[in-house]
Amino acid sequence: MVRSVFNILNGRNTRQGLWGLPLLVALLISLWLTVETTQFATAENLFNLVAQAMPLIIAAIGQLVVVLIGGLDLSVGSVISFTTAVLALDQPAIVLIPAVFVLAAVIGLINGLAITRFNVHPIIATLSTQYIVLGITRILRPVSGGTVPEIVIDAVSGSFLGIPYPVFWGIVVILAAWKLLYGSRYGLHLFAIGGGIASGAESAARNFGVSDRRNIILAYVICSCFAAVAGVFLAGRIVSGDPNVGLLFELDTVTAVALGGTQLSGGIGSLHGTVIGALVMALLANGMNLANVSPFVQTAIKGGILLAVVGLQSRKKMGL
């Protein structure tokens, strides 16, 4: 019993990675905020927190899918900005919403094809698409403006039975991701491919009849689509298109994924860890705002916590 708790805390001998420690960090921050400030433990603030954290949670889940197969998607931020820009194009919602997802899937497809078919390193492939998509976004909408369809705004700002819609967004996205990662053959294949890549045997999964190419391409498509969902959510929140809204999101998602104990070499990680990681980041931002900590110190503290949590993970091999 003691040993298994210890194992969860240091993430050893598990395919889920180190998620116990970030959970502990999240609980400690919440506890500290409840004691220190009166505003934290109110329903209003907590719902607000969920709404603030939601884009990051959604995008981070997408990033997790890619990280599990040992990849990295740096185009997430651009896809989010691009989505808000497309949604603000002043066309009927029935056209725009499917268009957003088709375009995101195309971006993911380009990433995946470049990486698998043309052997481009994930960082380079997704960095290139980051630039390209950001460029197109800036052409579509040089500065923030325009209005997004009414239905998108309603979908994030209403409430049902006293619970605001963002909470339902979270439940739906997490359930879908749970089904994808733990309830489908595809999820199993992801872990198989990633585990092989992490241990240096890149053809391991293929030797067991798992098509690595197709699954890797699909992972990038899924990641982009999750980013598009985050973009739709954000567009509803800010009511307009903004070419800079997704700025640095790629780094935040990687931070959240790593905070949740997922290893960037692939094969080891968990959905709950990632959600916890994103929540820790949102809690930190929310808590330090309540405690009047300068936003610049917040950045430094975020980096420090990331370093501490990741520094405690045990790995056998050196590398990215």
């Binding site: 630039y131 460029g135 110190v297 370093l307 520094g311 091999k317």
Partner: protein, 317 residues
């Protein structure tokens, strides 16, 4: 396609890092569009702007040869720029700042190396976290406002010329040559190559893998500090945003130059031309009147195209 790739001449051509081809194409474009731009003075000014990136590339290529990555360069540049411009050390002389900068780079590089080599933490995460911490620290210290001015000597030195070539460019070439010697003529260079090729085999052959990785990162930190000094000289004022996109551009330039994680086909001069490509790219876009979004798109298309071109080669050895 396969038949073309099997041709010995085509295979020889494909071994050349993409940066040389991109460089030639950009040069040809410029020659056709604005032949009068191609003189030493104008090109010198444009190339001079890219020197901080070019120096950062040198550190990046050393760590990428040992299958690692260093994204902390942006933070190091920002911190050193802050040290020099904030007036925290009033009346300090230039040598003091140089020593301070190199010391800072050394300590941060050593820390990166220790975390990656000894603690075996993910290189992306460690160097990213270090960068985030440094950026946050500098922004906090300066409350988000640009700090003061840089001692005049820095900018004066930056503006000097030697035989009508700007000194920063000469300095960059010299530094590149030094790194080239280090990687091709010393024991450390051999260690770097063998660790990148196969860390396990290197370990069993008696190569001190851990020490090599730590040393490579320390060197990268030191080189980033040098890049920071040049960058500070070039902008001549304090800034809280300077150089933040440089590390990722350095990775792109290095890969353009034919050095991928663990493989060093491009040597040192491939990445050197990779950095030059960014300088030329900037000139060509400005000359052709392409605005900011177009530049981003072209940058992405060129990096992706070059990487695909190179990836095809690796796939068909």
């Amino acid at each position: 396609m396969a038949a073309v790739l099997a041709n010995p001449i085509a295979r020889r051509l494909l071994r050349i890092p993409p940066s040389y081809f991109v460089f030639l194409v950009l040069l040809a474009t410029l020659w056709v569009a604005r032949p009068n731009m191609l003189n030493l003075n104008i090109m010198g000014i444009f190339v001079r702007q890219i020197v901080p990136l070019g120096i950062l590339v040198l550190g990046q290529l050393v760590v990428m040869r040992v299958k690692s990555i260093d994204l902390s360069g942006g933070g190091i540049i920002l911190l050193i720029n802050y040290f020099i411009s904030s007036g925290t050390f009033p009346g300090a002389s230039m040598p003091f700042f140089v020593v301070l900068a190199l010391g800072t780079g050394l300590v941060i590089g050593l820390f990166n190396g220790f975390m990656i080599g000894s603690r075996r933490v993910s290189a992306v995460i460690v160097t990213l976290a270090v960068s985030i911490i440094l950026v946050g620290l500098v922004q906090f210290l300066s409350s988000g406002n640009p700090p003061g001015d840089v001692p005049k000597l820095f900018n004066d030195l930056y503006n000097t010329k030697f035989l009508s070539v700007p000194t920063p460019v000469l300095f960059w070439v010299l530094l590149t040559a030094l790194v080239w010697l280090l990687l091709s003529r010393t024991v450390f260079g051999r260690y770097v190559a063998s660790v990148g090729e196969n860390a396990e085999a290197a370990h069993f052959s008696g190569v001190p893998v851990q020490r090599t990785v730590i040393l490579a990162h320390t060197l990268a930190g030191l080189i980033a500090a040098i890049a920071a000094l040049v960058q500070t000289g070039s902008i001549a004022v304090g800034s809280v945003r300077v150089g933040l996109d440089l590390p990722i551009l350095a990775v792109a330039a290095t890969i353009l130059g034919g050095v991928v994680f663990g493989r060093g086909d491009g040597g040192v001069w491939g990445p050197f031309f990779g950095a030059l490509c960014f300088a030329l790219l900037f000139v060509v876009m400005t000359v052709l009147g392409i605005d900011e979004p177009g530049k981003l798109i072209a940058q992405g298309v060129i990096i992706l195209g070059a990487a695909i071109f190179y990836g095809v080669r690796v796939r068909n050895p």
